[in-house]
């Protein structure tokens, strides 16, 4: 059922040229160089330390690695990280998709 729903959404966003993050409930990650990361549409902060930040989103987790990481601002669905960014990794749930 959910898979079918997902397919409909993908089709709709393509057909009407809608932003995919809104339609698909996916996080939008904006980085400014390697000093700032701006994550929207996430569902929770899982782990937070100087070197690693893990964030939950609908279909999995995002792992951000870096140095001297810190949360500049945190809201319900927004997160602004600062520090020396090294990588952003997506770890989708195995059962998802």
């Amino acid at each position: 059922m959910s898979k079918w729903q997902q397919q409909i959404r993908t089709w709709l966003s393509r057909y009407f040229d809608l932003p995919s993050d809104v339609m698909l409930d996916l996080p939008r990650i904006t980085t400014i160089g390697s000093i700032h990361v701006y994550i929207e549409n996430h569902t929770g902060l899982l782990h937070f330390s100087d070197e690693e930040v893990r964030i939950q989103y609908k279909q999995g987790q995002i792992r951000i690695l870096g140095k001297d990481l810190g949360v500049k601002m945190m809201l319900k669905e927004e997160l602004l990280l600062e520090g020396e960014l090294k990588s952003v990794e997506f770890l989708p749930d195995s059962k998802g998709r």
Binding site: L45, H47, F48, G70, V71, K72, M73, M74, L75, K76
Partner: protein, 393 residues
Amino acid sequence: MKNQHDFFQGIMTVQVEGTLIEPFLQACIKRGCYITNMRRVDPSIVILTIRLKDWKTFRQLRKKYRCKLSIKSGKGVPFLLQQLVSRLSLLFAFIVAVVVIFILANTLWSIKVDGLSPELEADVESKLNTYGVSPGKLTIGMKDPIEIQQQLLEDIPDLLWIGVKKQGTSYHLYGVEKTRYDTDKNNRPSDLVATKKGMIIETFIKKGRPMVSVYDVVRKGQVLATGQLVEEEDTFVHSEGEVIAETWYRVAQTLPLKQVLMLTDGTVESEYHLKLGKFSIPVWGFWRGEDGDFREEIHGSDWNLFGFKIPIHIQTIDYYSIDRKAYESSKKEIEKLGLSSARSNLQQELDPDAEIKEEKVLHLSEENGKVKLILMYKVYENIAETKYISQGD
């Protein structure tokens, strides 16, 4: 995220300690909290900044996630106010001090009046008092010096001019008195009569007809000059003038040969008392014994506060030690002493214009340790006195 809004609402830096920090924060955010500047200090310690209004939510949730919260610091208006309240007493004292200084600086402390006779000075001071200008009063709401000046000139006719100057907390008044010329001419007919027996030395009759001449010996009450200008006629004037006559005085004195003088030798012991109404509390020097001869001098202080006499005084009692000394003087010395004292006594009794011309020792005898002295004085003085003529109609 430092903006105006946060400043007024107040923001605080909080330390969160525990193992379930992330779920705790997640729960807080779900309730609408706003977290900024989060840093991990230690695997189990996070420091973050939240708004003051979110503190309630944090407290509610911390038990559930077993987190320890501690406030590091606070910023913004609510914290400033809190600080202010804790220093309110200091602030209050400061305000009171400013007010007191202001009041003291605006209080009139002294009034100085110059250039007037004591009677007029007292008059000016009492008038000033009725205007509400007296030491201890506030100068705020007091009349201007110029206004006071005008009012004083209006109210006291004897003043020719008065300058009122305000110098800091004192009023300085400088007045000029009107010199009064006797304008009321006395035209009642009168004679000049002798006040005492004497021999005329000099006559100076301004008005009237002289009745005596130089070297005449006159009795008391004798007419010296009359207002009746022509004999047996009804034209009378007010006679005026001076008649200097030689008068005689006899002074008798008895003086002891032996005199005991009480001399203070300069040693003073002071005793201080604090007086509260009728009670007297010894403060200093009360251990002084009662030995020897002493002369007491008591001084009290008058303290005024805002025009009220306060009932607390400091009383000082000075004890001057007295040295009794007996002096035995010779007859010659006694005579000298008697002469000078009799002369000064007589001079005091007489008119200031009178002149002692001659003195003579009539009698000098010694009996029972006392010297009897009889002196004779020759004085030149004015004996003329105005006596009104009753015209009897």
